[in-house]
């Protein structure tokens, strides 16, 4: 995360970003915290600190930038891939924290949550936000000793050391991915296809590095994922982790697929199951070392694993030939879904939050969907028995 140091600079920088967003159509989401609406009581400084702390989770969001503004206002701008709005997402958690803050203020003295916080969709609402900022006044910003700090290399080095020794099993989670009925078939409820095994990064951060945002700097975040990859491979290689497992999804770095840790895991996965293991890679990782990617791809596909390109967008797919690169799946969000994919490549739409999203994903031709909006649905058609927790894809 980029943390702007002074209010005047923060206002200028945010103004510049808004103008850029308006001109270029860069899609971001912005949250403005109207700290000046907090009551001027003895506890004001405490409330300001709590309000800033409440935004800690948002600082974990993709490409998050925090702006200190005049009159104690704070703004966070981030790239929302659709997950942040979830109840369990960064924004959802931030709002819960702010609600708790407001309950600490005596009745009638504090603002409503909607008065304290405004959320803007950029670039569409950039002009609105600029109007509000123009009214920001020139009061000196209150001195805040906030907990938000961008991850830097010294902290990352210490975190990597902690991660090497910590038991991360408590941070490991499952995230289901569901198969949709094919085009031309009757609309059926989604069926569990595979489950992604991942570490809940926000929880890892809260547990091991509570004062730093782990994903705000995209490159240090990716570096961190290499350490997490290694721990995930070790975790999956542990006793009982793979018992009864069916479809499995793993987000990996290319370097991790070529590591001894992956070779050890490969030995433990039965040959017949490898076709149900989906390995996800980022586009930047694919292009960072094309030769290494090509070798890793040949290796894992030769062993029978499936490859998925994660975080894809229509613009990305215009420059990355996923079929030629050897991907079986492309994972994207509803907003970024491409108009079509090459034959043989299947579409996974993540971030499904409600029935409308699911319907939209069907219209887009999604083969698979993921998100809390799907989890709430019955996962098997009534004529078939419910699949086991780790069903084969």
């Amino acid at each position: 995360m980029v943390n702007m140091p002074a209010a005047a600079d923060g206002l200028e920088a945010l103004g510049l970003l808004l103008r850029q967003a308006a001109i270029a159509g860069v899609r971001r989401r912005a949250l403005l915290l109207h700290a000046e609406r907090l009551p001027r009581t003895a506890g004001r400084q405490h409330h300001l600190r709590l309000a800033r702390a409440a935004l800690t989770g948002l600082a974990h969001a993709d490409r998050a930038q925090l702006f200190d503004l005049p009159r104690g206002r704070l703004a966070v701008v981030w790239r929302d891939r659709g997950e942040a709005l979830n109840a369990g997402g960064e924004l959802g958690r931030a709002m819960q924290s702010l609600k708790r803050l407001l309950t600490d203020i005596p009745d009638g003295q504090g603002p409503m949550l909607g008065e304290l916080v405004s959320i803007y969709e950029l670039p569409d609402q950039a002009a609105w936000l600029q109007d509000v900022l123009a009214d920001a006044g020139q009061d000196p910003p209150p001195a805040l000793a906030g907990p938000l700090a961008p991850l830097d290399t010294p902290v990352l080095a210490r975190l990597e050391l902690s991660l090497a020794q910590a038991d991360l099993a408590a941070f490991a989670r499952w995230r289901p991915v569901y198969r949709l009925a094919g085009a031309g078939q009757p609309v059926m409820p989604p069926v569990l296809a595979w489950e992604e095994r991942y570490f809940a990064l926000a929880d890892v951060g809260a547990g091991l590095c509570p004062h730093h945002a782990l994903t705000a700097d995209p490159w240090l975040h990716l570096r961190l994922t290499r350490t997490l990859d290694r721990r995930m491979l070790a975790l999956l290689g542990g006793t009982g982790e793979l018992n009864g497992i069916g479809g499995l999804g793993l987000h990996m770095n290319v370097a991790s697929l070529l590591s001894n840790g992956f070779l050890r895991l490969d030995e433990k996965i039965p040959a017949g199951l490898r076709g149900s293991v989906v390995l996800s890679l980022q586009a930047a990782d694919v292009l960072a070392d094309g030769a290494a990617f090509a070798f890793a791809r040949n290796f894992v596909r030769g062993r029978g694993y499936r490859l998925m390109l994660a975080g894809a967008s229509a613009a990305l797919l215009a420059v990355l030939d996923v079929a030629a690169a050897g991907f079986d799946y492309v994972q994207t969000s509803l907003r970024e879904a491409p108009p079509r994919l090459p034959q043989g490549v299947q579409l996974v739409v993540a971030g499904i939050e409600r029935q409308g999203d699911l319907d939209h994903a069907r219209v887009l031709g999604a083969n698979f969907v993921a998100g809390p909006g799907v989890a709430a649905r019955p996962i098997a058609p009534p004529t078939e028995p419910a699949p086991p927790r780790h069903a084969l894809a």
């Binding site: 030769a291 290796f299 229509a314």
Partner: protein
């Protein structure tokens, strides 16, 4: 151990089979090749009741009995196929994988064993170590680099156009294209974790931009010669740095100084945030700066369609893998070069005559690399009245340094910054690298979701 086993096999060759994976013959060997290939061979060894040996040059040898059963007899061929797929090579490339049925053809195996086992240098790249010490070392370097003046952190290299003309010496066929300033990352970028590398580069951007702005405003030594010669100055920046207020100030300084700037964006950076890429590409275009994508390698040419991104120049990394890749890959390379447009391709890291020769054979005439740096150094020495005090290697190294410490010992440092003179009648470089509106070019095919 290998030699003992081989000797025993050759003493009783009947029914014995030797399969050799010649990793030492790889054009671009990497440390993971052996690590991944070994279990593949070992699994085959288990099926064939054989043993895998490693030679000191990295080659791997599977010695086993000839399979007797019909289905087992297919396994050696299946193994060859599997290895060929793994390495993306042609299964008929017998130079890379050898199969000797020792009962019938022991001579080839004997000759192979008699050859000296020279291990090729393993290429750096794809840092495999994720030790915290590595991150800590980077943190320490970033801290200490704050005390180093920006020019001392920089290297410079002049990209050139190599004009045709068989009878003209190569030094007289070079036109300068632009001068690139590159931050020297700790230990070189090679072998560093790619993500740490990006972080370090982005961290240093702010200082680079500020220094360049100041240098342009003051007519400083770093940019003076390039501005005077009308040579474009290229720098590598992260996307957020191009959208920063500092870059806006640099733009003004460049305009005021009459400097031509080009900004090089790593492909990794570009694909990590394509929305931002779209925006900064527009900024660069509006400012009249060249937009360069750098970091394309041979393997990525097979699936990256970068021609549609509207870059003025796309830098292709030279590697030995470009020389006669397997048929399908060769066709993909050729098709991609054509799709990008050869007038937009620059071959970088062209450090050898072979690299430049490959480029010329494939219609590329823009280069950056040590080979042509040496040619420029030799030309420089020809014109230098104190050349007798230096070696060519020293002159080339000093010409590659932007800071004063790297030029120590040169009696004629002004000559180090002079670009090569364009040969008479040589075409000027079109389009990019000018503050004037670029010459109209055929618009790239529209890209869904991208507005230029």
């Amino acid at each position: 151990m290998l030699l003992d086993a081989a000797r025993r096999a050759l003493a009783a060759p009947r029914g014995r089979l030797a399969i050799v994976l010649h990793l030492s013959r790889l054009k671009a060997p990497r440390s993971y090749h052996g690590r991944i290939a070994r279990p593949v061979l070992e699994q085959a060894a288990t099926r064939l009741s054989g043993t895998v040996y490693a030679r000191s040059n990295g080659d791997m040898l599977l010695l086993c009995q000839e399979p007797a059963a019909v289905e087992a007899a297919l396994q050696p061929a299946a193994l060859v196929q599997e290895l060929a797929l793994l390495f993306g090579t042609d299964p008929t490339d017998i130079g890379f994988i050898s199969v000797w049925h020792l009962g019938q053809e022991a001579t080839g195996f004997r000759t192979y064993l008699d050859e000296p086992a020279f291990a090729p240098p393993i290429l750096p790249g794809l840092a495999e170590d994720v030790a915290p010490a590595q991150t800590a070392a980077i943190a320490e370097w970033l801290k200490s680099s704050q005390r180093i003046p920006v020019p001392d952190l920089l290297g410079q290299q002049t990209a050139v156009v190599l004009h045709a003309g068989r009878d003209v010496p190569i030094g007289s066929r070079l036109s300068p294209l632009f001068r690139e300033f590159v931050m020297h990352l700790p230990g070189g970028a090679a072998g560093m974790d790619p993500w740490l590398e990006r972080h370090v580069a982005a961290t240093l951007d702010e200082r680079l931009i500020a220094h360049l702005q100041h240098d342009l405003e003051e007519g400083g030594r770093l940019t003076r010669a390039s501005v005077h010669a009308g040579l474009a100055i290229h720098i590598n920046l992260a996307l957020p740095s191009i959208a920063s207020p500092g870059f806006g100030r640099l733009t003004h300084a460049a305009r005021a100084a009459g400097a031509r700037l080009g900004v090089e964006i790593s492909i990794v950076e570009a694909l990590a945030d394509m929305t931002m890429l779209e925006y900064v590409a527009g900024l660069l275009r509006h400012a009249g700066f060249a937009f360069v994508l750098e970091g394309l390698d041979e393997a990525s040419l097979g699936f990256a369609r970068l021609g549609s991104l509207g870059a003025d120049v796309i830098k292709l990394d030279w590697s030995q893998g470009l020389v006669q890749p397997p048929g399908a890959r060769r066709r993909a390379v050729e098709a991609q070069l054509q799709a990008i447009g050869l007038d937009r391709v620059l071959l970088q890291r062209a450090d050898t005559a072979d690299a430049v020769g490959w480029g010329q054979a494939n219609g590329i005439n823009r280069y950056q690399g040590n080979f042509l740096d040496s040619v420029q150094g030799a030309t420089r020495m020809f014109h230098c009245h104190t050349a007798s005090l230096c070696t060519l290697k020293q002159c080339v190294a000093r010409g590659a340094a932007a800071g004063t410490p790297g030029r120590a010992g040169c009696s004629n440092p002004a000559l180090l910054d002079l670009p090569p003179e364009a040969p008479p009648g040589a075409d000027t470089v079109r389009g990019a690298h000018t503050l004037d509106p670029p010459a109209p070019r055929q618009p790239a095919a529209p890209v869904p979701g991208i507005r230029w």
